[in-house]
């Protein structure tokens, strides 16, 4: 089992993240601690979504949608508790399991909010997701950003593309969709 502690991550990530932290403008984490949390956030997001890290947040990544989701999640009151679980877990998978089964609804439903953010590019506040039945379709609080909309993983997992936006080549509609593994695995 990989040791997934904060201390180990700190040494491994601060060096590589510092440039991005210093460079990227207002949506970037401002402190080295944030850089560590960002890296852990990505790793637990991989476990929560089932999408490979190389796809979710490539090392050479001009879009950096992870920063948008990290900032959004961090603004939630349950984020500190969620990250405590991540810091103390033995692996990203264990962290994801603990989050999704947490007795604290603020953490459990924040985990769901993060999944929905990656999938739909929209923010569903944990408090809204936690509303009791009878449940109606839950409207998102907001589309997180125009970039988030085009980067939503639901499109790739449906082997499709966002309405009005496609990185596929002209004529792709006449071909069979790419295999799912090609889309979500490294």
């Amino acid at each position: 089992m990989t040791d997934f502690t904060r201390r180990k991550m700190l040494g491994a990530t601060v060096g590589t993240m510092a440039g991005a932290v210093a460079a990227a403008g207002s949506i970037e984490p401002a402190l080295a601690d944030d850089a560590v949390d960002l890296d852990l956030f990505v790793k637990v997001s991989v476990a929560l979504t089932g999408v490979a890290e190389a796809k979710l947040a490539p090392t050479v990544d001009p879009i950096k949608v992870k920063l948008v989701y990290f900032k959004q999640a961090k603004s939630d009151p349950g984020f500190a508790g969620l990250m405590d679980i991540v810091h103390n877990a033995q692996s990203p998978a264990a962290a994801a399991q603990s989050i999704m089964t947490s007795a604290d609804p603020g953490i459990k439903f924040l985990g769901r909010s993060i999944i929905l953010a990656w999938y739909l590019g929209a923010w569903y506040p944990p408090q809204v997701l936690n509303r009791p039945p009878p449940s109606k379709p839950v409207p998102p609080d907001k589309i997180i950003s125009d970039t988030a909309y085009t980067q939503g993983w639901t499109w790739s997992i449906a082997q499709s593309h966002p309405m009005g936006y496609s990185d596929l080549r002209f004529g792709h509609w006449s071909d069979p969709p790419l295999p799912l593994d090609t889309l979500i695995k490294a």
């Binding site: 060096g15 590589t16 993240m17 510092a18 440039g19 991005a20 210093a22 460079a23 990227a24 403008g25 190389a54 490539p58 090392t59 050479v60 990544d61 001009p62 879009i63 125009d146 970039t147 909309y149 085009t150 790739s156 009005g164 936006y165 990185d167 596929l168 080549r169 002209f170 004529g171 792709h172 071909d175 790419l178 090609t182 889309l183 490294a186």
Partner: protein, 505 residues
């Protein structure tokens, strides 16, 4: 996967200055003419160099006079290692350095002298890309009735012959020469003159079009293979360097030799004959007018082995327009070609009113002037990195017209081999030139200018259409009979995913 592709490039770059594996003749069928011939002097200067005894440290390559004669890069030399710890940032700087080397090489005098040492004001001279032996205007490739073009020949329309001379550059006006992409309108300078645009290509690109008959609509219909322009590569052991396909799009403003005399040593200029072919290309004509033009914008697209989505460099004149921050701070440096600091009420980046078709005077029909502001579309770190490179290269070119040009940025594929993101995950995501994509600057996916995302939609004129390898040039082809008959479906147009079935190895 994305990281490993670039690490492979980085390793090659770091160890041998971009010497990349390449099988000579890989693009040349046996017995066929080599349309992408070996190049003797590919510029393989990297943007950083390793430090002796410290393999983890790199320093910036000095921006000095040696770079002025170092030649044109056949391929980018980039590395994930560099001046910062961010791999993306190091790669971006490598591409931006490549862009400056390309700009210097292409804008050096056609006669072989060093850039800035020409006989005209500001050391100006006719550039390499203006020589018909090196680049050819699109209008001289896509001819009437889909006629076969000839490399190097100069085509002088009858209407221009009385005005012609040995140094005259002929610019044929079609809609693309005055209307911006997606027909968003003309650009009008502060003197009320239309800006003029032109598109050119180098010989490997021309030869690919010519050899495959792609200069006519019928020829495109007959061509059953995928459109795959030749790629540039650096030399290596047993491997020749090759330039690959290169295309340019330039923008000009009209300069009056008398009224604008003070500007003549601030711009690269040409003595042009503007040809109005008449309907349907222009409302007026056939006719020809002589104008002095000053260069205000410069796009260069270059297809390379590790950038099959091409590398997109864009430069513009520093006095075109202020950027958003300068406007907010009222930190103006007039005069601007396309901005009036004394008109805060003027609508910004807005298309002028109809009619748009230019008259022979090239004067706009009303008092409207383009009020252009350069929109912020790049991440802060890219802006800072490009500004630092611009300071270095503009200082190197000080005292010449070329010190007045700046790189905006380079767009490149951060995941060139992806079968999912066919546009290669462009970095930066958005890029526009304030004179060439004036009305589509911004950061809105699909709507705002992105070189690769836009050109990735380009197709042939065949039925069914198929991807045209990131160029809209093929859409300018005419019909051989003058009028297009019913198209015959091209059932052989089966496109491999992303246009290249197997990534380069």
């Amino acid at each position: 996967m994305r990281n490993w592709h670039w690490l492979a490039v980085a390793a090659a770059g770091a160890l041998s200055f971009g010497v990349l594996e390449w099988r000579a003749g890989a693009q040349t069928p046996t017995g066929a003419r080599d349309i992408n011939p070996p190049v003797a002097n590919c510029n393989v200067t990297p943007d950083t160099m390793p430090v002796a005894n410290d393999p983890n440290k790199r320093v910036a390559t000095p921006i000095d006079a040696k770079l002025l004669t170092s030649g044109q890069p056949c391929h980018q030399v980039v590395s994930t290692k560099g001046l910062v710890t961010d791999q993306l940032g190091n790669l971006q700087r490598g591409f931006d350095f490549y862009s400056w080397l390309t700009f210097i090489a292409l804008n050096s005098p056609a006669d072989g002298k060093t850039i800035g040492q020409g006989p005209r004001p500001g050391g100006d001279a006719a550039t390499k890309w203006e020589a018909l032996s090196i680049y050819r205007p699109l209008a001289d490739v896509m001819l009437d009735k889909g006629a076969k073009p000839t490399w190097g020949t100069r085509i002088v329309p009858d209407a221009c012959k009385p005005l012609d001379g040995p140094t005259k550059m002929i610019v044929k006006l079609g809609e693309a020469a005055w209307n911006q992409p997606f027909k968003t309108g003309p650009l009008v300078d502060q003197n009320g003159n239309y800006a003029v645009f032109d598109i050119l290509m180098n010989q490997p690109m021309f030869d690919f079009i010519n050899d495959h008959g792609l200069y006519s609509r019928e020829g495109q219909q007959r061509f059953t293979q995928d459109i795959d322009f030749p790629k540039g590569n650096n030399p290596g052991t047993g491997v020749d360097g090759r330039m690959g396909a290169s295309m340019l799009k330039v923008s000009w403003r009209v300069l009056d030799p008398v009224e604008d005399k003070a500007l003549m040593d601030k711009f690269h200029t040409v003595d042009a004959l503007i040809y109005f072919p008449g309907p349907p290309g222009t409302r007026t004509g056939p006719a020809c007018v002589a104008k002095t033009l000053g260069l205000v914008g410069f796009h260069a697209g270059h297809k390379t082995k590790f950038a099959p989505q091409w590398v997109w460099s864009t430069f513009e004149h520093v006095s075109n327009a202020p950027d958003e921050k300068q406007v907010a701070d009222k930190a103006f440096s007039p005069p601007y070609s396309f901005f009036n600091p004394n008109c805060p009420q003027c609508p910004v980046n807005t298309t002028p009113s109809d009619p748009w078709d230019p008259p022979l005077t090239l004067k706009f029909h009303s008092d409207e002037r383009s009020q252009v502001v350069r929109t912020k579309m790049l991440p802060d770190d890219v802006i800072e990195e490009v500004a630092e490179l611009n300071r270095g290269f503009r200082a190197l070119l000080k005292g010449t017209v070329w010190e007045n040009y700046m790189l905006l940025a380079t767009q490149w594929p951060s995941d060139f081999a992806s079968k999912v993101e066919c546009n290669g995950a462009p970095a930066p995501t958005f890029l526009a030139n304030s004179t060439l994509e004036t009305y589509s600057q911004g950061r809105i996916p699909l709507a705002s200018s992105s070189c690769m995302a836009c050109h990735g939609n380009a197709t042939t004129l065949g039925v069914p259409a198929k991807p045209s390898d990131f160029t809209f040039i093929l859409e300018k082809a005419q019909c051989e009979s003058g009028t297009c008959g019913p198209a015959v479906p091209n059932l052989a147009a089966q496109n491999p995913r992303c246009g290249f079935a197997d990534p380069p190895k």
